[in-house]
Symmetry: C2
Subunit: 678 residues, 2 copies
């Protein structure tokens, strides 16, 4: 009778737990779900023991691990258990954050010589166990490849996120500092779990108001929340702030009053936030103020701020520049401007370079500045938010894109990964419940963090790690979902910008295809500037007969890039009848690429439909809906693009390809004034 | 051993449940938490049995009840149980949605002659049980007072919510209709639980694009989701749509082509949404287009749309009008314009009137149109979102405000509640996790629904119902929190607009005090227009010696209003030394009122601090933080207002009142360009 009663209670209790879990599957927990491990036979982790002086970060590490293990092994109190030791040791100099995990006599030990090392070790152990690995088999010896692994938020103080597709800013500026939402802790925790240790909380198109006392108080409240998670806070600084809010008549970086203003502002910041990370600056770019407004160089501007910051932090200065008055190929301008400044920047300046020379396109060659500024600390800027890859609604796993640039041989001093000392990612987080606007975009946040920690991690491993923790560690699920993820970015390239095409999207919002746009004020705003299609051919000649952007690369690299058909139309203007290595003409190949992209998306939909048994209903449905939207939009990209190329080239589609659903004029008439993120 | 093992499992399971529950207390579940009832001795509800033909709504009612009961009585499988019958009967004509709950031989029966009646009955039973009432004691016989109980969302297609303080639109316009977020079901469910049966999904400052096919498809997806919950969808219509998107040269309501366009548009809508509710229209008001642009009357405009809609739905036409060219007292203009049109509106037109003659101020007299248009169906428009009462950060329970207007005797045909046939509330929902931007603002959504169902419900009962379901049914908690809620609106009146003051807030965003503003283009945009303070006195003379707005009320009512010192400065311009009934002069009383408001907020903070044992930590902390923000802002309102009145009157503060923290100029210099909701 007692047993029966207990069993009944247990049943109800279990069913309640299940109900809760089912309800909770809205994506909020990201990859930190710690779904129970099924195999009860394996050695279970026991108590977590802290060895060493307790600090807030170490206590977080212990609590995180205890909670995570209890979730992974809900039956943990029974059977044989192995204690987990968190050991803070004074050991050989390792990079801040490094750790080892190994079995010892007393149990499994996570060892580090820094607080954050223990925190990262704790998350690493949970990650391994979360993939179903046996405790006894886990041996890790890790150190982050870079000191600074950071998110750049393009969030404005009014809550709008530029190029944000996941709702409003996750930072509740309006109620800060009076109220720090519980979500801020979850945000810091998610970052810490993948090793991110710096966040710029506001848009590079910065408002000076962010440097006013009212906003410094808000930043301080956030910094205090992030600190125990090993995360330092940075601010985007508007270069004209001394004029905008400082009451000065100039922002000339060589003006003593301006220098004094920035020094005082830096002191004010450090007084509120002792571990303030520094400034990120977008200057003389797309209308932002900068040192050139006063006839000074980027180095003058950066060094002035670096002096104000001193040895307390860094100044990250963006190399994303192109000027209205400059008719040089836009792809060349950053190199032309910054390469000669190599050696002129102060030691606490980092120059931040986008992965490619244009702007986060689905596929670009790596930026020629990598390897070309050996005396300058460089940061690689990746875009996690999918401004040009279908917003949040398209499934495009970006690790292969990130990997492509990190692994690219610069021909000068190793790969891109070898030439940089900082990695930054433009965040895709927002107020949406699932953080990133879609469930699969969480994978891009995850991939960014993992690659910033270890740029040699293969995309496949990252996809598998993420999918196992986020959805299901069942091999049948992973064997289907990982290849789908790995193919997804190429699919986007195929249906949006095949064969090296770029920048053919809608104006302003960057939503949907618009290769026909030719009427914008500045030449380099127009898609026609990039594809240069006419009756005879298509592509941007960047060889010696054209802009010669190719010459900005090391000669061997230039040769390799020129031979890469995936970048054909990036570097060459070719006739429509240009013969590709596979024997087809360009005009024959183009529709094949578009069709291939559309077909891949259709296949993704089928694959996902078959994975329903492994995923809770709410998330499965949401992903399925988004894949349907993506299929429709992939077809739209294909149809609109082919209709336009057909009209420009005067050629009918090759046989065997379906005609576009509408005439070209229909596509040209579409308007989306309410598109997000603008 | 088996028992021990089971006990251990149970313990873990219970603790996991507790962890889940603790995590889940982010406010998402609103008043529908169904926290377990502690008293296991009482008669427990058993199986839920449907009697009658199953319909989607009846199945929802059954499932909702089953799930709710399982949550309320997690040990429900044990002990004596009473079946619950859901009986759909063909009975005497009752208002759609009516139901009874009574004990019968077979169990407790919820009886109704409509599907929605059963749904409302199911929620009513959960509400009663959720307050801790014994099943056997529950007897209800309810019918809604009005056929139409609706929310008006001021949501734009770009996701911005005008006067929204809870994030972005809850409607994910961008991904509709491809993806209908699971939250849409939870939204419909919350509305159904309090009897709301109509929602206008877009802003009265409407964009014509909402009537285009692309948006009709989105609206259809929402309507399909809302339908089983007994909720009909309505659209705000832009009067100039025939010109904006219809290709016509005019929107003249008497033009045959315009009439044909609207008829075709209505047909298109009904073809997509067979139970489409109708249009809400803001015309010739604050820059919106309307029939007067063509020399036609409001009746001409409304009747033209009513003809297009036919007997399929209604046209709700707002009476909120005041014109730039009109120098008549703004408080009089709606009455002047609409009262003479009584009897001229088609039978399916409803004229929607705001609760007071200005604009949702903390306290206004009721609108003189109530009772003055006996041949016209009227809707009472209340504002749930707190545009003028401190946004989401101030705790102000609005049921007393709503009750005040509903109970007001019009002196013509009963109370305001008696003279209207529709109740509408401007929604306070948004994408924030807790729906309304603050936990206590959920109470205003709840109160609106309950009063629209039964305008005679006392505020105290509503507060108690809500708090018991949302936080804790412990009497010690309720005895403290209910009085706090009931006092909160008067506190706002005291620290913002005491003694009948109105419209003294910041320009545009309406955030914070700005009684000094006098430089805006239109006179009635300026706070000084409303308070008319000078060296000699303060207040707007609306008696016969002034604008005589008082004459728009029935004579007995006018007399009563004139005698109400809570509205003194609304109706009268009086000298600073005017003697009040308590013997004080106005100049003595004003700072007392401000101080009283500030003191009440401080007391609310203390009360809440003492309630920590009854509330989960996350919500308790959030409310406490907001109460601190409110205390600071109440003090700001008091200080800035008194500094200004002091400067205008040339009088020092009476003895015993603290001086403002800053000089007047400091308050006047504050700027909040990033304030939400504008």
């Amino acid at each position: 009778m007692v047993i029966a009663r207990l069993c009944a209670l247990l049943l109800i209790c279990v069913s309640l737990c299940t109900v809760s879990a089912a309800r909770a599957e809205d994506g909020y927990r990201l990859w930190l779900r710690n779904a129970p491990v099924a195999d009860a036979a394996q050695q279970r982790p026991g108590q977590v023991v802290l060895v060493g002086i307790e600090s807030p970060t170490m206590i977080l590490a212990r609590d995180e691990l205890s909670r995570g293990l209890a979730e992974l092994f809900p039956g943990g109190a029974t059977g044989r258990t192995t204690p987990i030791l968190l050991r803070r040791v004074i050991g050989p100099q390792m990079r801040e954050g490094a750790f080892t995990i190994a079995s010892m006599d007393q149990g499994v030990a996570i060892t580090a010589n820094s607080d954050t090392g223990l925190l990262y070790g704790a998350f690493a152990l949970l990650r391994e166990l979360g993939q179903g690995k046996a405790l006894a088999s886990i041996r890790l010896d890790e150190a982050p490849a870079y000191d600074l692994r950071m998110l750049n938020h393009w969030d404005n103080p009014d809550g709008h996120v530029e190029r944000g597709y996941a709702g409003r800013s996750i930072f509740d500026w309006w109620h800060l500092p009076g109220h720090v939402d519980a979500r801020m802790t979850d945000y810091a925790r998610a970052n810490a779990s993948i090793g991110i240790n710096g966040v710029v909380i506001n848009n590079v198109n910065a408002r000076a108001t962010m440097l006013e006392p009212r906003y410094i108080a808000k930043a301080k409240a956030l910094a205090d929340t992030f600190r125990p998670w090993g995360i330092r806070l940075y601010l985007s600084a508007r270069f004209s702030a001394p004029r905008d809010i400082g009451g000065l008549k100039t922002a000339d970086p060589l003006d003593p009053a301006v220098r004094a203003w920035w020094k005082a502002k830096a002191d004010e910041l450090y007084s509120a936030i002792p571990d303030f990370g520094g400034f990120l600056v977008k200057a003389n770019s797309e209308g932002q103020p900068g040192p050139q407004d006063y006839g000074r160089s980027h180095a003058n501007g950066a060094n002035m701020l670096a002096e104000a910051i001193g040895n307390r932090g860094v100044v990250i200065w963006r190399a994303f520049v192109y000027a209205a008055e400059n008719d040089e190929d836009r792809a060349k301008q950053a190199f032309t401007e910054f390469q000669p400044l190599d050696g002129k920047f102060a030691s606490n300046v980092v120059v931040q370079v986008k992965n490619g020379p244009i702007d986060f396109q689905p596929r670009e060659p790596f930026h020629p500045l990598f390897g070309a500024m050996p005396k300058t600390r460089l940061s690689l800027e990746l875009q996690i938010t999918k401004e040009y890859l279908g917003f949040a609604s398209h499934l495009a796993f970006l690790a292969p894109l990130f990997e492509e640039v990190l692994d690219a041989d610069t021909g000068r001093s190793g790969t891109v990964a070898d030439t940089v000392s900082v990695i930054a990612g433009v965040a895709n987080t927002g107020s949406d419940r699932n953080w990133t606007g879609s469930h699969f975009d969480q994978a891009n946040w995850y991939a960014f963090g993992r690659l910033a920690w270890n740029p040699k991690l293969p995309s496949k491993q990252i996809a598998s790690e993420w999918a196992a923790q986020t959805f299901s560690r069942d091999p049948a699920f992973l064997n289907a979902v990982v290849p789908m993820m790995l193919a997804s970015r190429d699919a986007v390239v195929d249906y949006m910008t095949p064969l090296g095409l770029a920048h053919v999207m809608g104006t302003g919002h960057h939503y949907g295809p618009a290769p026909w746009v030719a009427d914008l004020d500045r030449p380099e705003w127009n898609p026609v500037y990039y594809h240069r299609a006419d009756r005879d051919g298509i592509g941007f000649d960047r060889t010696a007969t054209g802009s010669d952007a190719l010459a900005q690369y090391a000669p061997a690299v230039a040769k390799r890039l020129l031979a890469d058909e995936a970048l054909l139309l990036w570097f060459c203007h070719v006739p429509w009848d240009h013969r590709l290595t596979n024997g087809s003409t360009l005009w024959e190949e183009l529709p094949r690429r578009y069709d291939r992209g559309v077909a891949t998306v259709a296949r993704m939909g089928t694959t996902w439909a078959g994975l329903a048994p492994y995923v809770d209903q709410q998330r499965h449905r949401a992903v399925a809906d988004f894949l349907t939207i993506q299929a429709d939009e992939a077809r739209w990209w294909r149809d609109a693009s082919l209709a336009y190329w057909s009209s420009v080239s005067g050629r009918a589609l090759p046989a065997g390809h379906e005609a576009p659903a509408h005439p070209l004029a229909w596509y040209q008439a579409q308007r989306f004034p309410e598109a997000p993120g603008q």
